[in-house]
Amino acid sequence: MSYFLQSIVDGASLGSIYALIALAIGFVFGILRLINFTQSDYITYCAYALIIPSTAAMPALFIGAWPAALMVISVLLIGVVLALLTERFAFRAIRDAEPEILLISSFATSYLLQHILMAVYSTRPKSVSIGNWLGEPVAFAGLRVPLIQLVTLGVTGAALIALVAMLRYTEFGIKIRAAAENYRMARLLGVRANAVIAGCFAISGLIGGAVSLLLVAQTGSLDILMGVSPVIIAFFATVIGGMGSLMGAVLGGFLVGMVSQLLQAYLPGEAREFRDAFLFAFTILVLIARPNGLIASSAIGQRT
């Protein structure tokens, strides 16, 4: 029983990270019909900003050496700035292109950013130590849970509540929802496209920064591809949840995290190695059963 509960806690912690990233992808997709692969670069760039530019395996800290509050704010800010830069220079000019062109463009932009980072830092994985104390296990309801999992759950929970509240109660949130529902109509009613779109990118950059800190604190290492795998999985989470639906993205993220952890815990030994294959097959099955995802958005498919 406690093994099952442990898996649930692990799944919730992992799922909450996927949910956050899925939400970031959902924000941008909802308005632009753009699947933003550069989300993975927001995460990677923010993480690499913690160290000084170097190819060494154990580099000196840069932003990572600053006081905790300043460090967190700086990293989040870097995420926002990077996201706004990609919006301005990579996506604004092709905003009205076909969704297929947008998808390929974001794939190319992500590849570009990844290789620029690689040229500066080399592909060698690096170890950094920030927040080692977060790895300490704490007793919690009869389980021994690493503190970082609780912190992750806390941070992502707070972020999710804040974002949902923002969407529901602020004027900006209402504009975003209106634009996600019907972009052209929202513009006709006076919603400024540039402001809303830039706002969505800023939020996804902010989320990228937060996720990068959580990931680095969990693993204590940096890798050029560290953002890719969670973003790809989160991207399938948005598909499962229903592209264009923000609540669907959150739901999909948690679902994928849970399924992934339960597969890990309960698949027989040899099959366990193929966990990711089951996960992606699960995505395709969900797409077959519900082509528009669990929560279908009315604006799915072509931009109206």
Partner: protein, 363 residues
């Protein structure tokens, strides 16, 4: 489209296009293989292998409008299948003990093995596409992406058959420029026949007006499955060629980098015409080789100029972004070479002709 179901009657002179694309490539292949320096032969072989792979993506994506992010998985499937049949008979029982007995103890001739490997890729694609092609176009593109990750997960962990993430060595290196060119020519021909067949016509109709095409009775699912299966065969063949060119294969080869490179080639040239794809592969390959040369260091006026590592990838990504920005239909703009004009026959059209009008002229 009267008697023959799939190949609508193609007027004689229309065959000029595939010939005009394939024959010069063949001349180059013969030239470099028998008269050129070995390094150039290697470069040309690699370009032609990418051409087969890009043509495979083209066969499916240009007709359906669904960009496939999963074809590299079929390259991997083909490469491994060929390795199982032809590689290292001494080592196989130990390193790949999970193989069925007939593969473990014997080796097979390379060409039938390549074809069998392509067929395996096609069978996998057939099964996958029966599921995936029910989706609308953007969801189907995402599902092909999932295919790539499923391949990575399965082949990366299936140690008893694929040796996991380790590199498999000792594949016979039989691939020469002329050998690959034969596959290039077949791929060009098949792509051309497919896009001029009723299948291609109906797929393009559904690409442009999905609902209307369905309403007119086009059985889109069936045709998408056929196109995906045929194209996966050629992707498999490209994978086989790649493995037997280098002599080694590993799962990591068949991942995002190769996917990106092939998509860059298809996009730069233009996804909507056969000439565009051929052009795209050649242009991107030339840019790559030049950047690679500079990355290694080039002496200009006594000064060694060298670009930092990663310039090749950064350069190609920039080219791709710029093309998408300023010429989203690619350099060829979805038009085909007008071969007749080059041959000096009368033609009032511009040097490039719309591929779609080529197929409507065939009716």
């Amino acid at each position: 489209m009267k008697n023959n179901r799939f190949v609508s009657s193609i007027p004689g002179d229309t065959w000029l296009l595939p010939s005009a694309l394939a024959i010069p490539l063949g001349v180059v292949a013969v030239g470099v293989q028998y008269f050129g320096p070995p390094t150039i032969a290697v470069t040309v072989t690699e370009i032609y292998i990418r051409l087969v792979a890009a043509l495979a993506i083209y066969m499916f994506s240009s007709n359906t409008g669904i960009i496939s992010y999963g074809h590299v998985a079929f390259m991997g499937i083909g490469a491994y299948a060929s390795a199982w049949q032809t590689c290292c008979v001494m080592m196989k029982p130990i390193t790949m003990h999970g193989l069925p007995a007939f593969l473990k103890t014997a080796n097979f001739p390379v060409v039938p093995s390549a074809i069998a490997a392509g067929v395996l890729a096609a069978v996998v694609a057939l099964v996958a596409s029966l599921v995936i092609m029910r989706l609308n176009s953007i969801a189907a593109a995402i599902a092909t992406f999932a295919l790539l990750f499923i391949f990575q997960s399965v082949y990366g962990h299936w140690d008893s058959v694929t040796m996991g993430v380790s590199t498999m060595i000792g594949l016979p290196q039989y691939v020469t420029p002329v050998h690959v060119w034969i596959w290039v020519a077949i791929a060009i021909l098949v792509a051309f026949i497919l896009q001029n067949s009723s299948i291609g016509l109906m797929l393009r109709a559904s690409r442009d007006e999905h609902t209307a095409a369905r309403a007119c009775g086009a059985r889109i699912l069936k045709y998408r499955v056929i196109a995906f299966t045929i194209s996966a065969f050629f992707a498999g063949i490209a994978g086989v060629m790649l493995g037997h060119r280098i002599g080694t294969i590993s799962v990591a080869t068949f991942h995002l980098d190769l996917t990106f490179l092939l998509l860059a080639m298809v996009v730069v040239g233009g996804l909507r015409s056969l000439s565009g794809v051929v052009l795209g592969v050649i242009i991107v390959s030339v840019i790559m080789e030049v950047l690679r040369l500079f990355q290694g260091g080039v002496s200009i006026g006594g000064q060694i100029v060298s670009l930092p590592a990663g310039s090749v990838q950064i350069g190609i990504a920039l080219v791709m972004i710029l093309v998408l920005r300023f010429r989203p239909d690619g350099i060829a703009k979805g038009l085909e070479f007008d071969v007749k004009r080059w041959l000096g026959r009368s033609s009032d059209e511009v040097a490039l002709r719309r591929s779609d009008s080529g197929s409507s002229a065939a009716e």
